[in-house]
């Protein structure tokens, strides 16, 4: 499903080059749920952005269902994201001046769905996350947990095969975090592939596999407790410890 082949990525910061990803090779199969852990600055978010077609690597290839992501032009990459990839952000990134239902409509509007179907589908999704009574509330009128649920509904709008979640529980209280993780697991059970970046070891354990990054290298892979039966397989990079 997702494959990284010798991917490296450098950032230039105040005249110094920082290597965010260092010759990473890994493969994530369809239906897998992988958590990516590691200290701050280890390259977790960079990995997620590279996987999502948002950040070109300096070298190497990223394949989504066999298609080389960065051999596509920017418009084609945007189109692929629209069809196959759903993002969940730590700060939710809801558009502040749109209501909950309108926020969920965005991916549908971008996909060219007509307005009536946009509204119908968005309302269904918000109902699914328990916000049927908050359709016309703006993000500022919702609690943090409710905002995260709107973001999850928006992520699901185009029925993505791959979900990339960046610290999805980072801003949530334990109960809300648990609900968000339950939701992601539910998505995974629908055969969606999930890659979740997190600092939270408890959250990481909810994944089928856990991947540790340090200094841009995949340095460990651990079948998470309770998910050891997964058939997912991670090929480690040359930096394997």
């Amino acid at each position: 499903m997702l494959k990284l082949q010798s991917v490296s990525k450098d950032y230039s910061l105040r005249g110094q080059t920082v290597r965010a990803l260092d010759d990473v090779t890994l493969e994530i199969e369809r239906g897998d749920f992988v958590s990516v852990v590691g200290p701050s600055g280890s390259g977790k978010s960079t990995l997620l952005l590279v996987l999502g077609g948002m950040l070109s690597p300096a070298s190497g290839q990223v394949l989504v269902e066999g298609e080389s992501l960065y051999d596509l032009g920017p418009e084609a990459r945007a189109s692929l994201r629209k069809k196959k990839i759903g993002f969940v952000f730590q700060t939710f990134n809801l558009v502040p001046y749109l209501t909950a239902v309108e926020n969920v409509q965005i991916p549908l509007f971008l996909a060219g769905v007509d307005e009536a179907n946009q509204r119908k589908r968005a309302a269904e999704l918000l109902d699914r996350v328990g916000l049927a009574d908050r359709l016309h509330h703006k993000p500022s009128e919702l609690s943090v947990g409710q905002q995260q649920r709107v973001a999850l509904a928006r992520m699901l709008a185009n029925d993505p095969a791959v979900i990339l979640a960046d610290e999805p529980t980072g801003n949530l209280d334990p109960d809300t975090a648990r609900a968000a993780l339950d939701f992601l697991q539910e998505m995974n059970q629908e055969d969606r592939t999930i890659v979740m970046v997190t600092h939270d070891m408890a959250a990481a354990k909810r994944a089928k596999r856990s991947l540790r990054l340090a200094q841009g290298r995949v340095c460990d892979h651990t079948p998470a407790d309770g998910y050891g039966e997964s058939s997912a397989f991670l090929e480690l990079s040359s930096g394997e410890v």
């Binding site: 978010s45 952005l49 999502g52 948002m54 950040l55 920017p74 418009e75 945007a78 189109s79 994201r81 629209k82 069809k83 993002f87 952000f89 730590q90 700060t91 990134n93 558009v95 502040p96 001046y97 749109l98 309108e102 409509q105 965005i106 991916p107 549908l108 509007f109 971008l110 996909a111 307005e115 946009q118 928006r154 185009n158």
Partner: protein, 406 residues
Amino acid sequence: MKLKTLVWREIFERKNQLATSFFAILLGITAIVAIKNVTFYSEKAVAKELDALGANILILPKSVSLQDYYSADMQGEVFPEEYVDRLTGSGLQGMDNLSPKLSVPVEVAGKRFTLTGILPKNEFQAKAAWQGAGVFARPQGCGVVVDVPGKDTPPAKETLVRKRVIDTLDSAETLVGADVQAALNLKQGDTIHLLGKSFTVSAVLPQTGTVDDSRIFAHLHTVQPLAGKGSVVNAIEIVGCCEQISKGLVQKINALLPEAKVVTVTQVVDTQIKTNQMMSKLSLVFLGIIALVGGASIANYMYANVFERRREIGTLMALGAGSRIVVKMFLLKAMLLGLVGGVAGYVLGTLAAVILGPRLAGVPVLPMIWLLPAALVIALLVCLGASYFPARRAARLDPSAALQES
């Protein structure tokens, strides 16, 4: 959800930031519309005044110096009547009426008057060559109001006072000025003896307050033999179209008649031309100001808006928005700004012109609907032009950098 919903909501979310740019475009368009509106009616009013004045170009013998416009033909110097043929045969545009004149002093009942020979319109039409030139076949007035509907049309002979030409005049007919009538106690149908010939008074002309009041008008071809001067005239009066005068009609007549002197009612025409030019330049200056100030203000606002929304743009890109939709998002916003600014500017500018025009320019001003599309085009061009580069910058944002800035 449509693109316009997204744009509309964002505008209302940050309307205070947009206010400065909106006022820049609004005031610019208001100023342009108001100036154009007042200028148009001001030009029309001056043109009407010129029309009321009568002839505004005089052709005189070269040696004559013009002291008084109305007595220009009383200098004694003459030139051939054939100049009239040259003018009518030239095909020059902008000559509404032609009136050749020959004036000689006469004494009636011990009082001195001026006998002026003029050529009626039917004389022009009788000449095949002149007919071909079609001087009087062309529409007259150049857009100037010649006849005011609702006002009494003066008797045919009295049109001489205003239009400097009459339709018909028999060889034994005269028209007498108001002072002549008063001095000699004449009335229509009376007989008057001039230079040994008897004339019938066919009309008494209304008071003009000029030397024309002391004139007795008769047919040019009757006056010429009585004066013993042959086929000559003292002057040719031309009612020239003001617009054509500003485009060089006088210079063209000068080139056609190098032996003669061509003069205009310079103060009036020059003032008109200078006013028109000044107003045109002022409009251009305002156009420049709106393009610079309005454009800079909008560009500045748009760049700030792109910077402020980079996270939102990054999110949209993560959700699958391509660069085209991002560009459209900003250009649609600029278009809305231009449309609203253009329409509101037109309404305000028209109101300002209608209310202030009569006070500032002393002319009545009416709304001009064709200024609405012009205002819209200008406002849209400025707004879209100023927003193009910010929109392009938004489309080229690095979404990963925008998303990582949290």
